[in-house]
């Protein structure tokens, strides 16, 4: 009895020891000019399920290490209460900067205010928190509006002379998606004003930015509009869900899909011709930019309220030339 | 002399705080029925659990067919040819008889269970036992006697050489017991050794060849049955001489107390009417399934009745739940103490408290001091053997459990007490004490309804006897002293 008691305890401790990285071990190549305790960046992202955020986190860690920062990356799991606790723990740890993609831009306010009160600079990435009463050092995001415009261009290009009916797979809760759709519709409207090949947005359906919901939404819009010609999905999972619906309905030739993001799975689909094109984001650049902003802030430089990273349109030709897709 | 089938030597087993076995020895020859006797708590069940591999002995040896073996798990003991049929059967209620028999030893062909072959073998087994059992229904739908036969068939299926039966007759009618004995005689002929545990001494005289008596975890006697008398056995078990199994009492029966009129519930209870008088023990008897327990449960509000009036001292009672019955001063000591009478995982004090909390609490707060004192009084007056008030109810012997249940109701000052099989699974010494308590209660002017399947108990304790059959009262014997077993049986099967 005693023995197994001990064994279990030993396992527990071993388990924790294995996971807990003592704080000062990492970052051997600390620049000499660093004085005092190690500088740490605390990062809490919306979720790590989505490779987009994973890439951001990984790049912050890598870039931070180059400049002598330790980085803690945690996932808020879309649960704002959990994220709040993570930020509180960062404050207790006295990290030198907090990077955040808020799970809810309203509910996160109190805890950002706590960080402000503790004198720790807060940087937001991808999802902004432009609320009164909070101090954000800077917001780093993709230029979603510009990206949406690119998507509109791609749609015009894809439908060509004929024009036709188009459905949008939306995710209205996300501000970034609102911007994407805004850019998209503006370009389409401008096109319709000048061209005879009219493109008509016949449906805006909720997709939650997820495959299963995208699939259902696309299926429904195909039922309502059998002559549908294009689908603009606000991210890759929704686009891939829509593609599955097209395959089931045997309409892959008739309907063209424009996605967004440029995740590996999306890029692969573009290469295979399943998605026509994506305005792609650059999460790696975002990660690097964040660390740069943290350093500039610490050096006392002025930072703009928002730093936008432009997207670029990614078509089949780009995919075929992409070394990552081998 | 042949090698004994089973030889247990100097078995020692202790549990935290209790030395259950202090070096018990036992031997069993092929084709022999050995009766294992002893009061509850004497160590019989523990010894059998050691034999069945459910407990590991701290010391001592077990030899089967002269070969010493160690039983670590029930599987080990089964492999050695030992089958233990516990009082609470070891059947999976949702599986059929056939599935239960071959549970753990499925007849397979190419990895698949061969149902046809299993059914054929099961049918063979039941034919050998001379019974017919529906192989298609789940075991929970079978009667107690049928379930027991399934257990025996299970033992035969893996060719057990040693079969232990722990209180096999407790829930059987006398007719069913007769058939069980026929089966045991048949097993003997096949050289199977049977260890038979029972409190019913009559049965021991009918079936056993030899008797081993345990008391307080030690052997106190082992003799062939022919050298034993009934009083011998009782003396050995309780360690003192018992003059009479049933204590005498002076009866002073008063006016009618509880009147039940036209009680009905489906086909289980059909128009039952009776009265119980002050200072009277009324026995309700009949075969198992006659509707006796059902009747008192309706009376107590435990089940919903279709119709019927209940009056206490002439006043009509509105009983819709046990709570109402208790408030009116009726208490029920259920036949199944473990599942209906006690919370086994809670202390005896807490069990005692439950029906009395209304009285023992103020503004919702339990007056723990008062509760302890009151229970303490009952512990001493009822001679409940507990090391402390915090002892878990599940760790007590049957007799002591029954006394705790009794204390619950006495503290409520119940005027009418219903005892459903008051001495089932209780040893001789404790039985006598329960009888004395019942006598004392009626002497105080309380009324008792006693359900019992044991004829001697009915004849020895009751003032008046009601016999039930198929949900009806088929007869009343006004003077129980002059009744005979035959008379009752006639009414019970009418």
């Amino acid at each position: 009895m005693r023995q197994s008691l001990f064994a279990i305890f030993a396992c527990l401790v071993g388990c924790l020891l294995g996971c807990a990285k003592p704080e000062e071990k990492k970052g051997v190549d600390t620049p000499e000019k660093q004085t005092g305790p190690k500088q740490t960046i605390g990062v809490s992202l919306l979720t790590l399920d989505n490779p987009f955020f994973k890439v951001i986190g990984d790049n912050i860690t890598a870039e931070g290490l180059k400049h002598g920062y330790d980085t803690i990356v945690v996932s808020g799991d879309k649960d704002v209460a959990k994220q709040s606790n993570q930020i509180k723990d960062f404050i207790v740890k006295k990290v030198s900067a907090i990077v955040l993609s808020p799970c809810d831009s309203k509910s996160i306010i109190p805890v950002i205010q706590e960080a402000n009160a503790a004198g720790i600079p807060v940087f937001t990435v991808d999802i902004p928190c432009n609320e009164p009463g909070v101090k954000i050092a800077t917001q780093i995001a993709t230029d979603n509006y510009g990206g949406g415009k690119e998507a509109g261009q791609a749609m015009i290009e894809a439908l060509g002379e004929a024009g036709g009916k188009v459905a949008v797979l939306h995710f209205k809760q996300a501000e970034s998606c609102l911007l994407r759709v805004k850019g998209f519709t503006e370009v389409i409207d401008a096109h319709n004003a000048s061209s005879t090949a009219k493109i008509e947005v016949v449906a805006e359906l909720e997709s939650s930015g997820a495959k299963d919901m995208g699939y259902k939404a696309a299926e429904d819009s195909l039922q309502a509009h059998p002559d549908l010609r294009g689908i603009f999905a606000i991210n890759d999972p929704a686009a891939l869900g829509a593609r599955a619906a097209l395959e089931k309905a045997n309409k892959t030739q008739q309907v063209q899909i424009i996605g967004f993001d440029g995740q590996p799975e999306g890029k692969q689909a573009i290469k295979e011709g399943k998605i026509y094109a994506d305005p792609i984001q650059f999460p790696d650049k975002m990660g690097i930019q964040i660390v740069d902003a943290i350093i500039r802030h610490s050096k006392g430089e002025e930072l703009p309220a928002q730093m936008l990273i432009p997207t670029s349109l990614y078509r089949k030709a780009d995919a075929e030339a992409d070394p990552e897709l081998k | 002399m042949t090698t004994p089938l089973l030889e247990m030597r100097d078995i020692v087993k202790s549990f935290p705080g209790v030395q259950a076995l202090r070096g018990v020895s036992l031997s069993l020859r092929p084709g022999e029925v050995l009766a294992l006797l002893g009061e509850n708590g004497a160590g019989k069940s523990t010894l059998m659990k050691v034999l069945g591999g459910a407990h590991r002995a701290d010391a001592g040896t077990i030899a089967v067919n002269g070969r010493e073996t160690v039983f670590q798990t029930p599987q080990d003991s089964r492999r050695a040819g030992v089958a233990v049929i516990y009082q609470e059967f070891n059947l999976v209620p949702g599986l059929t008889a056939c599935e239960n028999i071959f549970l753990g030893q499925e007849v397979t062909r190419a990895g698949f269970v061969s149902r046809t072959q299993e059914r054929r073998r099961a049918t063979e087994l039941f034919q050998r036992l001379g019974v017919e059992i529906n192989l298609n229904v789940p075991c929970r739908l079978l009667s107690t006697a049928q379930q027991q036969l399934v257990e025996i068939a299970k033992a035969l299926a893996f060719e057990a050489r040693i079969i232990v039966m722990d209180e096999p007759s407790a829930a059987l009618t006398s007719h069913e017991v007769e058939r069980l004995f026929d089966i045991i005689r048949d097993l003997k002929k096949h050289g199977i050794g049977v260890i038979y545990i029972s409190h019913r001494l009559d049965e021991i005289f009918t079936i056993a060849d030899r008797v081993t008596v345990l008391r307080d975890g030690t052997n106190v006697g082992e003799r062939p049955l022919s050298e034993m008398s009934r009083s011998n056995m009782i003396e050995l078990m309780v360690g003192r001489e018992l003059k009479d199994e049933f204590p005498h009492r002076a009866t002073a029966i008063g006016p009618a107390r509880l009147e039940v009129m036209g009680l009905r519930s489906g086909s289980a209870v059909r128009d039952v009417t009776f009265t119980v008088r002050r200072g009277e023990i009324l026995a309700l008897t009949g075969l198992v399934g006659a509707g006796r327990t059902e009747t008192v449960r309706l009376l107590f509000g435990a089940d919903r009745r279709d119709s019927g009036d209940i009056r206490l001292d002439g006043k009509l009672l509105s009983i819709r739940s046990p709570r109402d019955a208790i408030a009116a001063g009726i208490g029920l000591l259920t036949e199944d103490r473990k599942h209906q009478g006690l919370v086994l995982r809670h202390s005896v004090r807490e069990n005692f408290g439950v029906p009395n909390l209304d009285r023992l609490s103020q503004f919702g707060f339990v007056q723990q001091q008062q509760e302890r004192e009151e229970f303490g009084r009952y512990v001493s007056t009822l001679k409940i053997k507990v090391p402390s008030q915090e002892q878990l109810a599940g760790n007590l012997s049957g007799g002591n459990q029954q006394k705790v249940v009794l204390a619950k109701w006495l503290a409520r000052n119940c005027e009418v007490l219903i005892f459903d099989e008051p001495t089932r699974g209780i040893d001789v010494g404790a039985k006598y004490e329960i009888y004395l308590l019942m006598n004392e209660l009626v002497a105080q002017g309380k009324s008792i309804i006693m359900i019992s399947s044991e004829m001697p108990e009915v004849l020895g304790m009751a003032d008046r006897i009601l016999v039930m059959h198929e949900g009806r009262i088929t007869g009343e014997i006004a003077d129980a002293r002059r009744a005979t077993q035959e008379q009752i049986m006639e009414l019970a099967v009418a």
């Binding site: 009895m1 008691l5 279990i8 305890f9 527990l12 401790v13 388990c15 924790l16 996971c19 807990a20 990285k21 003592p22 704080e23 004085t35 005092g36 305790p37 330790d70 803690i72 990356v73 945690v74 649960d79 704002v80 209460a81 606790n85 509180k88 723990d89 207790v92 006295k94 030198s96 809810d104 309203k106 509910s107 306010i109 004198g119 802030h297 610490s298 050096k299 006392g300 430089e301 002025e302 | 435990a302 709570r323 208790i326 408030a327 029920l332 599942h339 209906q340 006690l342 919370v343 995982r345 809670h346 439950v354 029906p355 209304d358 609490s361 919702g364 707060f365 339990v366 723990q368 619950k408």
Partner: protein
């Protein structure tokens, strides 16, 4: 169980043993004497601190001490690196020079000071000094201990109701959804009926009470389904989990409700009693009350009896239905209270709150030693269980354990803790 908690605390104390940066008056005093020793009594000084209470106190106090001892303090910066740069530019351009830059430990690490020789050659290469640091576990800092208690308050409070339900032999899966529902309702009532951001204390209180009572109604509904129709609690509360969550999303229309006055955070983040957060005080009071209820009161004994053996309890005259109803209503009310606290902590209500909380609550109860088969369990155990979970989560955040690994470890530790308890009790 307590043993596991103590061991975990000890482990995390060791693992988070690290350098601490003192601020405030004491640090100022120490640094002032260092400056006097190294640079004489009349050095030219710039004081830099962050805009934060402790740092601010340090800066003001240091300035006062240095001025009285005769030093020349050029400027006191309380702010960000940018403010420090501005001050340096100003001093440099006015032709002044500096001997010392006195910083708080956090400010000393700012990169603005990393290359003074090249960036500000006119300043005559000032030295950077900061208060001496000491070593102490991050985990054991008073602020962190309160942090842990505050983080677990919601789960711990709901676990009180869950303990009762589990002791009756049931389960309540709907608590997570009721958190969301209650938070949304409270937000909605404040926004729509109590005057939004101008709501009065009475208005906010009634909104919260109303939200909690509505949750209580849902609990009563679950209890009625369970007692009257004998539907297993697992199924009833699973259904209520979906209903509650769906209602919350419907009512909030998928958005968070934030039109709430600032004073609403009093419950979740205020501390009006000796620095203890109000939520923690509330939690302790509720645990005290629940402990008394379960161990001293008739109702508590009935709850144990119903869970221990329902039929025996019924035949002993226990009002089984009412007892079960009480347990489910209490559980739902406490979940509602948890939702209000969470809304207060986050100053908004959203349907996404409380996702998966039922599992953490059940874990807290089980780690606390309550048996899922009913009839046994202690309130203190549940509190310890909740704290154990909070300590593991907080400790791993402090020791840089990555999110997914945290889940794996938490799962294993919950299992290990229960196993350890079983073995210790010799089963």
């Amino acid at each position: 169980m307590f043993l596991v908690l103590v061991l975990l605390c000890a482990f995390f104390s060791v693992a988070t043993f690290s350098e601490q940066s003192p601020t405030g008056e004491a640090a100022a005093k120490q640094l002032a004497s260092v400056i006097e020793q190294q640079f004489g009594s009349t050095p030219r000084v710039l004081i830099v601190a962050r805009e934060q209470p402790g740092d601010s106190e340090f800066a003001s106090s240091l300035e006062q001490k240095l001025v009285t001892s005769g030093a020349k303090v050029h400027a006191v910066v309380k702010g960000e690196p940018r403010d420090a740069r501005e001050a340096l530019v100003k001093i440099s351009s006015s032709g002044e020079q500096l001997d010392v830059i006195a910083c708080t430990p956090a400010a000393a690490a700012w990169l603005v000071f990393s290359d003074l020789k090249n960036d500000f050659p006119m300043l005559d290469n000032p030295q950077i000094v900061k208060p001496q640091s000491y070593r102490w576990p991050n985990f054991l800092k008073a602020a962190n201990v309160l942090n842990i208690a505050n983080q677990i308050a919601v789960i711990a409070i709901i676990a009180i109701g869950m303990t009762m339900v589990i002791i009756t032999g049931g389960i309540d899966l709907s608590v997570g959804s009721l958190i969301a529902l209650s938070a949304v309702l409270a937000g909605l009532f404040i926004r729509d009926y109590a005057g939004a951001t101008n709501a009065s204390a009475i208005g906010m209180t009634s909104a919260c009470v109303a939200a909690i009572l509505i949750c209580g109604l849902i609990g009563a509904f679950s209890g009625a389904m369970i007692t009257l129709f004998r539907i297993p609690p697992f199924i009833v509360t699973l259904a209520m989990m979906l209903v509650g969550s769906g209602l919350a999303y419907l009512l909030a229309k998928g958005e968070s409700i934030y039109q709430i006055p600032d004073s609403f955070v009093w419950l979740g983040r205020g501390a009006s009693f000796v620095n203890l957060p109000n939520a923690v005080v509330l939690m302790l009071v509720l645990y005290g009350a629940a402990q008394v209820l379960m161990s001293r009161m008739k109702l508590g004994r009935y709850i144990y009896a119903v869970g221990g053996n329902r039929e025996a309890a019924r035949l002993s005259g226990v009002p089984v239905r009412s007892v079960l109803m009480f347990a489910y209503i209490a559980s739902a009310l406490l979940a509602g209270l948890g939702g209000v606290i969470m809304a207060s902590q986050l100053k908004s209500g959203s349907a996404t709150y409380g996702n998966m909380y039922e599992l953490y609550v059940i874990a807290a109860v089980v780690v606390g030693g309550t048996s899922l088969s009913g009839g046994e369990g202690e309130m203190c155990g549940t509190l310890i269980g909740a704290l154990t979970i909070a300590v593991i989560q907080n400790g791993m955040n402090l020791t840089n354990v990555e999110s997914y690994t945290q889940k794996v470890v938490l799962g294993l530790v919950i299992l290990g803790a229960v196993l350890l308890d079983k073995i210790r009790h010799g089963e």
